[in-house]
Amino acid sequence: MELDAFRTSLDGWLDEHAAALAPGHAGAGTLDDHMAQLAKVKRLAYDAGWMRWGWPERVGGLGGSTLLRAYLAEALTLRDLVDPGLYSMTEVLAPTIIDYAPPGLAAAMVPRLLRGDETWCQGFSEPGTGSNLAALSCRATRTADGWRVSGQKIWTSLAQYAQRCVLLTRTGPTASDHRGITALFVDMASPGITVRPIVAMHGREEFCEVFFDDVAVPLDRTLGEVGQGWSVAMDLLPVERSTALWQRGAFLHRRLEQLLAAAPPGTLAPDEVGEVFGQVYALRARSRATQHRLAAGQRLGPETSVDKILLATAEQAVFDLVAAALGDAILAGDDAGSERWRAEFLYSRAATIYGGSAEVQRNIVARRLLDLGADR
């Protein structure tokens, strides 16, 4: 299906099924509420076919351009039907399984994620490896029939809901850096896994610590080649900065518009509004070009760090403006609307930290795009 036809028919379907798609919870909603809403929307959209467009047929998709996925994510966000952060896990993890899992496994698993039957998480960061991902130490040891995993992950989004985890493990010598990493696809119900949610600054238990204590993982759950986990991670990170960023840009556009409607007279200065809109627009223009490159089959690489930097800058600019114009709501409001503005304002503080910090992104730009060599 072409994008224009997809856009028109999807918009029609969303209007027609607005009541069925609307959130079941009242007010700001808990994380449980948002997860339930996400699963419901994905199921309805999958069963109607929308959630299958843009994905390969060998994993239950209907084929077509990845632009269709980007538009679906945008349309769901602009109608406030899904939380973009929660939704984005699908866009980040499904491509990894499609590219690196054995074909049978991908065909069996991906539809469950797309349909909202399952939640997956991404076990990358560790207490000792935040920005320095290649130093990870969660150990996987070969056994007769697979792997035994022991170690700890942290900042694992939605692990308490997840049935599966894309896990980076150390399989080479301790100091083998990016050369000795292997990616595994782990069942979260496996004996030996303990999940402990972290209450984050914005009040949600979105991130978790995950402990692995001698967890058995079958050999056919190896993603890519043994010792090649770094390339799995390097392919995943640009994807994390493509479709998901387009959706997040749409979210910022929507919230900025809602701020214009909600801000009391005199609380917004024209030059600030113009400036912030310019930043949101710059992200949109850049991300749009990235979506089209992805759709044309180009391999995304370090240039997506520019997209991430633009997102982090725009997101903080939008919510700085929110905090300035809706100070009463942010500081002292206890109604659902205020709670939502406040949670989003606080969450925006992490935009320069998660998914590769602002500093790491700039190091990538300097080294890979500007050819400035190593930084030591």
Binding site: A269, P270, G274, G278, L283, A285, V365, D371, D375, R376
Partner: protein
């Protein structure tokens, strides 16, 4: 133009902008068939020429051609165009009875052209008038960038030679076309500043290592790259979109990108970049003037904010 033609044309432009400026560049462009190329494929050749011109710190009358083409006036060597004064983007003329009040700027080539098109505001729209150049009072602008060769057009009142009502979209369209061209020139200049600074950072040794290895230096250059890439994306998006709004946004973001390049690259180039023997100062001067031409980033941004606040909503622009 097909790919091969475009490549050949680009090669010619590269050579012309690298070796000529001003009147000589105008002659070289004429020889290359610039005006025909502009008529055939503006989307391909405007970014090409103006980015090269910005990178080479060259000047030409090509902006006149771009604006005239958008006004449906076939560009020739005989006719130039009066542009709004620096920092402004409203039409440079005003109709007062049988006369025309003109106030604006023009490119260096304006005095060599026999006549100039002046778009003028009337009570309820615009007209495009052709004015004999000798009737205009032209002042060569020295200012911060004498090499730019801009002229100030200050004529009290002139009688117009002919005057045709312009369609309601004529000035916004001409402005948008001009803003895109100047935006690409800013982009070319900003990229060149970044290239100069990166080159310097790799070569310059302090404390026993290239200064490119210091994170404080790298991050300045990375921030410049991000601002330049944002401008590039906004310019490309504006060509796709074709509306005055996205052209103004692209011009503003190109101005911002050049501002980031001026600030960060000056610091990285440090002492050598502060000398007149290093080419950097030419780009500082040029981008400051180009930012002002057809609306500076700050004013365009404030106007945008005014419009958004007035409507209390955001335009749904740039669909996937």
């Amino acid at each position: 133009m097909d790919r091969e033609e475009l490549e050949l044309f680009g090669k010619g432009l590269r050579h012309a902008t690298a070796n000529h400026t001003g009147e000589a560049l105008d002659a070289a462009l004429a020889e290359l068939g610039w005006r025909d190329a502009l008529a055939a494929d503006p989307r391909a050749v405007v970014p090409l020429l103006f980015e090269l011109q910005g990178a080479a710190n060259a000047t030409s009358s090509a902006l006149d051609d771009v604006v005239l083409a958008a006004l449906d006036t076939a560009p020739t060597t005989a006719v130039g165009v009066v542009l709004p004064s620096l920092g402004r983007w409203d039409a440079p003329g005003r109709v007062e009875g049988e006369e025309l009040a003109v106030s604006g700027v023009g490119s260096a080539g304006l005095r060599r052209r026999a006549a100039a098109v002046v778009v003028a505001r009337t009570g309820d729209g615009h007209v495009a008038a052709i004015v004999e150049t000798r009737r205009l009072v032209l002042r060569e602008v020295g200012g911060i960038d004498p090499a730019f060769g801009m002229v100030e057009v200050a004529a009290g009142r002139v009688r117009r030679r002919e005057r045709a009502p312009a369609p309601s979209t004529a000035w916004p369209d001409a402005l948008a076309a001009g803003q895109l061209a100047v935006g690409h020139e800013l982009l070319g200049a900003a990229r060149q500043m970044l290239w100069l600074a990166c080159d310097h950072a790799r070569e310059r040794i302090q404390f026993g290592r290239p200064i490119a290895s210091f994170q404080a230096v790298r991050h300045r250059l990375a921030d410049t790259r991000v601002a330049v890439d944002a401008a590039e994306a906004a310019l490309a998006a504006a060509w796709d979109d074709g509306s005055p709004l996205t052209a103004a946004l692209a011009k503003a973001l190109a101005g911002r990108g050049a501002g980031a390049a001026r600030r960060h690259c000056q610091q990285v180039l440090a002492g050598i970049g502060f000398t007149s023997e290093h080419p950097f100062h030419r780009y500082v001067r040029r981008t400051l003037v180009l930012d002002g031409l057809l609306g500076d980033a700050r004013s365009l941004t404030r106007r945008l904010g005014d419009d958004l606040l007035g409507g209390r909503r955001l335009p749904a622009i740039l669909p996937l």
